[in-house]
C-alpha cells in the first residue's frame, strides 16, 4: 500500500443508499443530470472524480470484477478500490462487470454485452467526461424520457451517436454507461437513442 | 352506511400473544430447556440444522422450541437467521475418510477394513411403544468396547476406486464451487449446485422421489455402498495465514450409493455414484439425497431423463420446503381483488353465452 489511504464513505450504510438512489435516478431518467451528495471526507483518489469514486464505493464489492483504463489504473486508485470495495481488478475487459474510464474512450467491443438469454450479464462503464450540461446538440429519447431531452456531453468523441447506435443495435444485449463529471452524473442505458440535433 | 373492516394491526398483535401462550402450553408443566431439546430431541435438531443450512445446535434447538416442534417452521426460522450472518469465507472440503466414526455400515461387502459398526440406530429396534419410557424409566447403559474403533476407515467408494470399478469423483473444473444461496440456479444445473440444493431440500420430498426411482420411475439399481456417521474436522484457510487451520468439529452423516454400471465398447464398465451428506444424524435424508443425486445425473451419464426424479427443474425448483411452504400458505393472504376480477369475467362470459343461447336453453336461466 502506498502512502496514507484516503477514507471511504463517511456513513457506509446511508451514503451508499443515497448514492445508489442517485444512480437509479440517472439510469431510469436518462438525460437528467443528477448531482451526487458529497460523501467522501478526503475526496477521491486522483484521477478519479468525486462522482466516479463515490459510485465505485456504492456499487463495487468482491462479487464485481472491475477493469481500469490506463489513466485510472494508478497504484493509489488500485489500493483504494481494493481496500474499500474488496473488488477484484482485472486486465481482461471481457471479465469485467464494471469499468472505470478516465482517459479516451477505449474500444468498447471487448466488454461483455450479455447474451440473448442473459442480457444482464453485461458491463456497466463509469466514464469520466469533461462536462455535462442540460440543453445542447445531443437529443436523447427512449424509456425514462418524456418525449426527448437535449444535453451536452463535453469530452466524448463526436462519433458518439454512431458508436452508441452500434451498442443499441445489440438490444437486449449491450453496455450501460454512467457518465461522470465532477459530482455530476448522467445515465445512458442501452435503450437510450442519441441523435445529433440538426440545426 | 357500510363501514370497511379495519384493525389489522390489533388483530396481528393479539394473534401473536395467543400464539406465545399456546407455545408455552399449561404453565403448570415445566418449560422445556434448549439443552433438553438438544439432548433428547437431537434428531429434530439435526434435521433443522441440515435443511436450515446452519450448524448450530443451540440455535436449532431454539428454533424447534419457538416453532412448537413444527420442524419446517423451525427450518424457516433458522434460515432467516442464517441469511443475516456475514460470511468471511468458505471452508476447505471435509475429509470424510478421516472422520471419527460412530456408525459405519456397508451393504455391498460382508466385511471390510474397519469392519461394520452398527452404532446407534433404530434399524434393529422392535417398534413397540416403550411404556417404561413414558414413566421416565432408567436408561440402560451401553457397554464400553474393549478397544476403540480404528481412527480412520477407508471409504467403500475409495476401495472400489482403487480397482477402477467405480467412476472417479473429480471436480468439474477449476472454477469455485457454486452457492445457490448467493446465485440463483440456472439450468442445466451443475452438480455442485444440485448437491447443495438437495442437502437443503425437504426430507419428505426427497424421500418420496428417491423411493419413486426404486419403483421404476428412473431406476438406477442402487446399493448402499456405505453410510457413515461421526465427527469430522472443519478447516479454513485465513487469507493472512495462507494455510488451513482447524476451526471446529461437526457431526455428519454421509451416504455413498453405488449405482448401475455403465460401459461401452471404448470404455470398460464401471459403477456410478450417488452422494448424500447431512449435518448431524439424518440417515434417511442422506440416503434419499444420494438416490436423487444419482437420478439427476441421468443426462450427464447419457441416460434419457423420463421420470420426475430425473427432471432437474422439477426436482430442484420444488425441493425447498421454505419456498414451498411459503407459497402454499400464501393462499391464505387476501386475494379478493383478483377474485373480483374473475367474478366480473365469469359473469360477463355467462351473459355472452346467455345472449347467444337459443330460447329455452339452460344458460338463460343461469345467467344473472
Amino acid at each position: 500500500m502506498t502512502g496514507t489511504l484516503l477514507a471511504g464513505l463517511a456513513d457506509p450504510t446511508l451514503d451508499s443508499q443515497r448514492l445508489f438512489r442517485a444512480a437509479l435516478e440517472a439510469l431510469s431518467r436518462p438525460g437528467r443530470i443528477v448531482t451526487l451528495p458529497d460523501t467522501l471526507p478526503d475526496g477521491p483518489p486522483a484521477p478519479l472524480m468525486p462522482a466516479t469514486a463515490a459510485l465505485a464505493l456504492a456499487l463495487f464489492d468482491y462479487e464485481t470484477p472491475v477493469w481500469l483504463d490506463e489513466v485510472a489504473n494508478t497504484p493509489a486508485v488500485c489500493d483504494w478500490l481494493r481496500f474499500h470495495c474488496g473488488c477484484p481488478l482485472v486486465t481482461d475487459k471481457a471479465a469485467a462487470d464494471f469499468a472505470i474510464i478516465a482517459g479516451a474512450l477505449p474500444d468498447l467491443s471487448d466488454f461483455p454485452v450479455g447474451s440473448d438469454a442473459f442480457p444482464d450479464r453485461s458491463a456497466t462503464l463509469l466514464v469520466q467526461v469533461a462536462g455535462l450540461e442540460a440543453g445542447g446538440d445531443l437529443r436523447l429519447s427512449g424509456p425514462g424520457i418524456d418525449g426527448d431531452i437535449s444535453i451536452t456531453i463535453k469530452g466524448l468523441p463526436d462519433t458518439l451517436p454512431t458508436l452508441w447506435e452500434a451498442n443499441q443495435s445489440l438490444f437486449p444485449c449491450g453496455l450501460d454507461l454512467l457518465l461522470t463529471a465532477g459530482s455530476m452524473l448522467l445515465g445512458l442505458p442501452r435503450t437510450t437513442r442519441i441523435d445529433r440535433r440538426k440545426e | 352506511m357500510y363501514v370497511a373492516v379495519k384493525g389489522g394491526e390489533r388483530a396481528i398483535d393479539n394473534s401473536r400473544l395467543l400464539l406465545a401462550e399456546e407455545r408455552r402450553g399449561d404453565p403448570a408443566v415445566p418449560e422445556l430447556t434448549l439443552a433438553q431439546i438438544d439432548q433428547q430431541l437431537s434428531l429434530a435438531v439435526d434435521r433443522v440444522m441440515t435443511e436450515g443450512s446452519l450448524y448450530d445446535r443451540e440455535l436449532a434447538a431454539l428454533a424447534v422450541k419457538q416453532a412448537q416442534g413444527d420442524l419446517i417452521e423451525a427450518i424457516f426460522l433458522l434460515r432467516a437467521y442464517r441469511t443475516t450472518l456475514p460470511r468471511f469465507g468458505y471452508a476447505e472440503p471435509l475429509e470424510t475418510a478421516a472422520m471419527h466414526l460412530r456408525r459405519r455400515i456397508s451393504a455391498t461387502y460382508k466385511d471390510l477394513p474397519g469392519g461394520q459398526v452398527l452404532g446407534p440406530t433404530f434399524d434393529y429396534t422392535l417398534r413397540l411403544l416403550d411404556f417404561d419410557l413414558a414413566e421416565n424409566g432408567a436408561t440402560p447403559e451401553a457397554e464400553m468396547a474393549e478397544e476403540p474403533l480404528a481412527g480412520a476407515m477407508p471409504r467403500v467408494a475409495d476401495i472400489l476406486g482403487h480397482g477402477g470399478l467405480i467412476e472417479p469423483e473429480t471436480p468439474q473444473d477449476d472454477r469455485p464451487v457454486g452457492d445457490v444461496t448467493r446465485d440463483p440456479m440456472t439450468f442445466p444445473a451443475d452438480r455442485d449446485a444440485r448437491l447443495q440444493a438437495l442437502a437443503r431440500g425437504d426430507e419428505g420430498f426427497l424421500l418420496s422421489l428417491g423411493y419413486s426411482t426404486q419403483r421404476g420411475y428412473g431406476k438406477n439399481h442402487p446399493f448402499a455402498g456405505e453410510i457413515r456417521l461421526g465427527e469430522v474436522a472443519v478447516e479454513f484457510v485465513p487469507e493472512e495465514l495462507g494455510f488451513p487451520i482447524e476451526i471446529g468439529e461437526i457431526t455428519i452423516t454421509e451416504c455413498q450409493m453405488i449405482n448401475q454400471f455403465q460401459g461401452s465398447t471404448t470404455e470398460p464398465a464401471k459403477f456410478t455414484r450417488g452422494y448424500g451428506l447431512t449435518f448431524g444424524h439424518c440417515e434417511r435424508k442422506a440416503m434419499a439425497m444420494a438416490l436423487v443425486d444419482r437420478s439427476l445425473r441421468a443426462q450427464e451419464l447419457g441416460e434419457e431423463p423420463k421420470a420426475p426424479a430425473q427432471d432437474q427443474e422439477f426436482v430442484l425448483y420444488h425441493a425447498d420446503n421454505v419456498e414451498a411452504s411459503g407459497f402454499t400458505q400464501h393462499l391464505k393472504l387476501p386475494h379478493y381483488v383478483d377474485f373480483q376480477a374473475e367474478l366480473v369475467m365469469v359473469r360477463r362470459m355467462r351473459e355472452t353465452a346467455a345472449n347467444n343461447a337459443t330460447p329455452g336453453d339452460d344458460f338463460e336461466e343461469a345467467a344473472d
Partner: protein
C-alpha cells in the same frame, strides 16, 4: 471494508433495512440492470427473509435495497393500507428503518404493493415496488425455465398469441382477468404481477419508476418512467378493462376498482373502492355513496 450502523436509526440489532450491505449492493446492481433492460427478469441472489416466501419477500428485498431516511413509505395489499399483510410489512420497515410511513398515495415516495396500483395518478418522484409471485408470464404455457428463457431471448412469443386466440375462440373473450400480460417498450412480454387488468393501463407511460421483486423465484424486473406498456390484444378483440354497473357504496366513485362485499346470504351485495386512500379522500371532499344518498332522500 467496514460497515457501521448509523447511530440514530432504530434497527433492533439488525442493519438499517434488515439486509446486510453486500446483499443490498447485489440487489441494487440487479435493479440497475433491470432498469436498463425494461421488462427483462434479472436473476438475483434472493435471500431468506423473516417473512415467508409468497408473502412479499421479493418486494421487501427491493424496498429494503432502495429505502432511505428521506423516504416516506406506503404499503398496500388489495389496494388497502390496513390489510393484515400490508400492516405486517409496514411495521417491518418501521422497525428496521424508522422511516416515515403514510396511507396517502400523494405523500409517498415509495409504494410497496400487492395486487393493485393506486387510483390516484402517480408522479415523477415516486417509485412503485410490486410483489410478484410468478414473474414469468409464459410459465402457464411452458413450465420449463430453460424454454421460457429461450422464448424471451428470441422474442418468440407465438405461444402467448395462440393462447389468447384460443381463449377468444372458446369464450368469445380473452379469459385472463388479472396478471394480464403486457409488452414493455415493444420488446419483452412481462407479468404485471397479479393486479387486475383494470390497472394495466396505469403502467403505460407512467411518470413513476416501477420495480418488481419476486423473492421465491429470485427475479427482479423494472419499467422505467415514460415507457410504453401495452396489454396484449388483437385488432378485432381490443384489450378492455372491467366495468361495474354500480358505484362505490361509501364514496360513490364510478371510476375506481370495486370490491364486492356480500351483505347477506340471499345474494345481497354492495360494492366499495378497493383503494381505501382514494375512497377516504373522496369522502373527505364531500362525495357520498348510494347508502348515504338513500338515507338523505
Amino acid at each position: 471494508m467496514s460497515t457501521q450502523l448509523p447511530t440514530q436509526i432504530p434497527t433492533g440489532g439488525y442493519n438499517f433495512a434488515y439486509l446486510d450491505e453486500q446483499t443490498k449492493r447485489m440487489i441494487r446492481r440487479a435493479i440497475l440492470k433491470a432498469v436498463a433492460i425494461p421488462g427483462y427478469q434479472v436473476p438475483f441472489g434472493s435471500r431468506e427473509m423473516p417473512l415467508p416466501y409468497g408473502w412479499g419477500t421479493g418486494g421487501i428485498q427491493v424496498t429494503a435495497a432502495i429505502i432511505g431516511p428521506e423516504d416516506t413509505l406506503k404499503v398496500i395489499d388489495q389496494g388497502a393500507d390496513d390489510t393484515t399483510n400490508a400492516v405486517n410489512i409496514r411495521s417491518f420497515f418501521q422497525k428496521t428503518t424508522g422511516v416515515a410511513t403514510t396511507e396517502k398515495t400523494r405523500e409517498a415516495s415509495l409504494i410497496q404493493t400487492r395486487h393493485r396500483i393506486p387510483e390516484t395518478a402517480l408522479s415523477e418522484g415516486q417509485i412503485m415496488v410490486y410483489q410478484v409471485p410468478i414473474p414469468e408470464p409464459l410459465r402457464w404455457l411452458e413450465p420449463r425455465e430453460g424454454e421460457t428463457r429461450k422464448m424471451h431471448g428470441l422474442a418468440e412469443y407465438g405461444v402467448m398469441q395462440v393462447k389468447l386466440y384460443e381463449d377468444i375462440a372458446h369464450y368469445g373473450h380473452i379469459s385472463t382477468a388479472y396478471d394480464y400480460p403486457v409488452r414493455v417498450n415493444g420488446r419483452y412480454i412481462m407479468s404485471p404481477s397479479p393486479i387486475p387488468k383494470f390497472d394495466n393501463p396505469k403502467m403505460d407511460n407512467s411518470p413513476a419508476l416501477q420495480l418488481f421483486g419476486a423473492g421465491r423465484e429470485k427475479r427482479i424486473y423494472a419499467i422505467p418512467p415514460y415507457t410504453s406498456v401495452k396489454s396484449l390484444d388483437f385488432e378485432d378483440h381490443p384489450f378492455e378493462i372491467e366495468t361495474w354497473d354500480g358505484a362505490c357504496a361509501i364514496c360513490g366513485a364510478t371510476d375506481s376498482y370495486l370490491d364486492e362485499i356480500v351483505t347477506d346470504d340471499t345474494g345481497g351485495r354492495i360494492f366499495v373502492c378497493s383503494d381505501t386512500d382514494y375512497c377516504g379522500e373522496r369522502v373527505e371532499a364531500g362525495h357520498k355513496g348510494a347508502d348515504d344518498e338513500e338515507k338523505a332522500a
